[in-house]
């Protein structure tokens, strides 16, 4: 039992597992960009073999990044990170806490010959020079006089032992933030026509309505264009009304969301919708030459030219099969049955798409209500603003993770832990200066630094007049 515990522990804290998990998550993420996701997936699987379909459903391949097994991979990575941190952090702490000791003979054993220079000055002069150089370069310097030899030790970047651990913990923070967001947050959308107000938004995932608990009113929506015709700015002027507190005004633009009661509103899209008024050109077959433009509003009866008839608008569709607007009219002539029919903004386009119904059905005949003939001129269109409404209580954890990760990386890679040791020993009338360095990472950088210090020392003690 003890044994299995131990082996599980060593498996879960191993770097090998980390590499395997990282590669597995990478490969499955690639699959997610190649397989159709969400809406596209439903259509895709109808063409598959039933067995493949059930496998697809079991593996939730249509929403791969939220599937149970992808989450399991992320969970395994989180466990791996935790175990690694628990296993390795005490060692890092020990390195961090161990005091820097100066008198150590061991690092100088077996040192290459080019790491020692012989200079013709006293040990005291050499010591002054060396400590000057080290103090300039390093925050810490220890010094010890031992059996005639002088030992110096300097170091920097001690904090960097925590760099890697900070990066690992930051990944855990980000994963925790994402988890909180997915359980306690939501992503929803809503379209608000100019001048209208809403208190309900619709969840992106299920399309179900969600009560906001307050009212959002859109006072105005504006689109601005550059001279080139490309959009410059989308701007919604909103008012948040909740209970008996003061109305709160806010302007939402792309990249500039606004929040109310923990819910953030983003400018996502916009569009136009019928405003309710339609202008119609009306002719009378019994009186050639009589032609009038009639402004008809939804639900209101409007008198037709020459009298003897009223028109009412029952329905307006902004985009009928993508061929412009369609308007459902109802014409009431005295003594006749009420007649309802559709007229179109682009009747020719609709006819080419639906030739048979357009030719045969009275429902699509603009002269169905004798003696009147109707033609669509234009209609009032109103902007609506399309807002994304999100709540994400996990986001501050994610931001925290980002900061910890950045600091961790900067510590680990740009501020590496380095130690330099210098020994000054009198040897037969001359003074031998030896230098050695140690670094957890970046041996090339360390080598460069050792060489730089060495050349600074030789320059300094060989030209003593500079110090005078």
């Amino acid at each position: 039992m003890q044994n299995t515990d131990k082996s599980l522990w060593s498996v879960f804290s191993s770097i090998k597992l980390a590499v395997i998990l990282l590669i597995l998550i990478a490969v499955t993420s690639i699959a997610g960009t190649l397989l159709p996701q969400h809406e596209g997936a439903a259509e895709f699987i109808t063409g598959l073999h039933p067995a493949a379909q059930s496998l697809w459903r079991f593996m939730a391949l249509g929403d791969l990044y939220h599937s149970w097994w992808f989450r399991l991979l992320l969970f395994a990575l989180a466990l791996n990170l935790m175990f690694c941190t628990v296993k390795r952090l005490p060692g890092a702490l020990k390195i961090y806490k161990t005091p820097l000791k100066a008198d150590m003979q061991k690092p100088f054993e077996g040192l290459p010959a080019d790491r020692t220079v012989s200079v013709a000055c006293t040990t005291a002069e050499a010591s002054k020079k060396v400590s000057g150089i080290l103090r300039k370069r390093y925050s810490r310097m220890e010094y010890k006089d031992s059996a005639g030899s002088l030992f110096f030790a300097s170091e920097k970047g001690r904090l960097s032992v925590f760099g890697v651990h900070m990066v690992h913990v930051s990944v855990l923070l980000i994963l925790a933030g994402a988890l909180i967001g997915s359980f306690l947050g939501f992503q929803a959308y809503v379209n608000i026509p100019e001048g209208k107000a809403i208190d309900t938004v619709y969840l992106r995932s299920t399309k179900k309505p969600l009560d906001l608990g307050f009212v959002v009113q859109c006072n105005a929506f504006d689109v601005e264009f550059y001279e080139t015709g490309s959009p410059k700015e989308y701007r919604s002027e909103l008012v948040f009304l909740s209970g008996n507190s003061e109305p709160e005004k806010a302007v939402v633009r792309v990249n500039h969301p606004a929040s109310h009661n923990g819910i953030t509103f983003y400018q996502a899209t916009y569009g136009t919708m019928p405003g309710g008024m339609v202008r119609l050109r009306v002719e009378r077959k019994d009186e050639p030459g009589l032609e009038e433009i009639v402004e008809a509003s939804a639900g209101v009866k409007t008198t037709l030219p020459g009298g003897g008839g009223m028109v009412r608008i029952l329905d307006i569709r902004d985009r009928f099969i993508d061929k412009g607007a369609a308007v459902l009219l109802s014409v009431d002539t005295p003594g006749e049955k009420e007649i309802t029919f559709w007229i179109f903004e682009n009747p020719d386009a609709v006819r080419s798409r639906l030739p048979a119904p357009m030719a045969l059905s009275r429902k699509f005949d603009p002269s169905a209500a004798e003696p009147f003939q109707f033609q669509f001129v234009d209609m009032e269109r109103r902007y609506y603003t399309g807002l994304q409404a999100n709540k994400d209580p996990g986001v501050s954890l994610v931001w925290g993770g980002f900061i910890v990760m950045t600091v961790g990386f900067l510590l680990a890679f740009f501020h590496p832990h380095r130690r330099i040791r210098i020994r000054i020993a009198p040897t037969g009338g001359k003074t031998a200066i030896s230098i050695t360095g140690w670094s957890k990472r970046n041996p090339i950088g360390l080598e460069r630094e050792v060489q730089a210090i060495l050349s600074e020392i030789t320059r300094g003690v060989l030209n003593p007049q500079k110090d005078a």
Binding site: L22, E233, H256, P257, Q388, T406
Partner: protein, 281 residues
């Protein structure tokens, strides 16, 4: 536009630098190496001048914005970052052997920008989604990362060439004109990857914070986001595999080449998948 003219001259100059670095490796003489570095430095400066001019021109057109907003501008900037990072690398390591790869990549990127008919080189105003202070931070960090990964790809190729020819057989004239020893390449490559990895991380972080204010979500599994994460995971695996047995040297070089393929797909291939990052095409 003057900036476009500068960029076409710069394209030829990068090619010139590439030829000089090639001559240096073939002949082992000092002169072509020196000329190559001088050419590359001058080209990089002219290139920077072109980018600044393009920036100023956008102000003259009435909608000043940083020249980092479409495929043309990103390629031009990418080419410049490759030259810049390589030159800093050459200065630090005192070794010119990677120059041939750097000059070639810089040349190819800007040549594609300048001569491909499908890449629009006009200065256009920013659409609302791109009007953000995060634009510069996001694009600069991402492309510094891409540039470092490109050079790391070059170092991996050199490593593999070197492993076929471990006994030095090249020119004798000075250290700087030869490929370094394999273990030195390996260490330099590790540092290059580490730098690229940090820049990619910052690129993803800045992009994520930006996406949160533009699209309402810091992560949407948009193909470009997902591929940048895939690239990040591959390089994360690479950085960790140094610490596991049996994954040194040659295998890391091969993994590096795979990582670079992911970078290329994140940059170009994603445009063939539908998603939110469509302005980068």
């Amino acid at each position: 536009m003057i900036n476009n003219i500068i960029f076409s001259y710069v394209t030829f100059l990068y090619f010139g630098a590439f030829i000089l670095y090639l001559l240096m490796l073939l002949t082992g003489r000092r002169t072509p190496g020196r000329l190559a570095t001088m050419t590359l430095v001058a080209t990089m400066i002219a290139h920077a001048g072109g980018i600044v001019l393009r920036w100023l021109e956008s102000y003259k057109m009435g909608f000043g914005r940083a020249p980092l907003s479409n495929l043309y501008e990103s390629l031009v900037f990418f080419s410049w970052t490759v030259a810049l990072i390589y030159l800093l690398f050459e200065r630090r390591t005192k070794n010119k052997s990677l120059g041939i790869v750097a000059a070639l990549i810089a040349f190819l990127a800007i040549a594609y920008a300048s001569f491909s008919p499908s890449v629009n080189d006009r200065i256009q105003p920013l659409i609302p989604a791109l009007q953000s202070n995060w634009l510069i931070a996001h694009v600069v960090t991402c492309f510094l990362g891409y540039a470092a990964f490109s050079l790391s790809f070059g170092l991996s190729i050199i490593y593999l060439i070197k492993s076929k020819d471990p006994v030095h057989r090249g020119p004798e004239d000075g250290q700087a004109f030869r490929f370094p020893d394999q273990n030195v390449i390996d260490e330099l490559n590790h540092q290059m990857v580490a730098f690229g990895f940090i820049m990619l991380t910052l690129g993803i972080i800045t992009g994520s914070v930006w996406a949160h204010s533009a699209w309402g979500s810091y992560w949407s599994w948009d193909p470009k986001e997902t591929w940048s994460l895939i690239t990040w995971l591959v390089y994360a695996a690479l950085l960790h595999s140094r610490f596991t047995r049996g994954w040194q040297g040659r295998r890391i070089a091969l993994m590096n080449i795979f990582g670079f393929a992911c970078v290329l797909f994140t940059y170009f291939g994603v445009n063939y998948l539908p998603g939110l990052h469509s302005y980068a095409t």
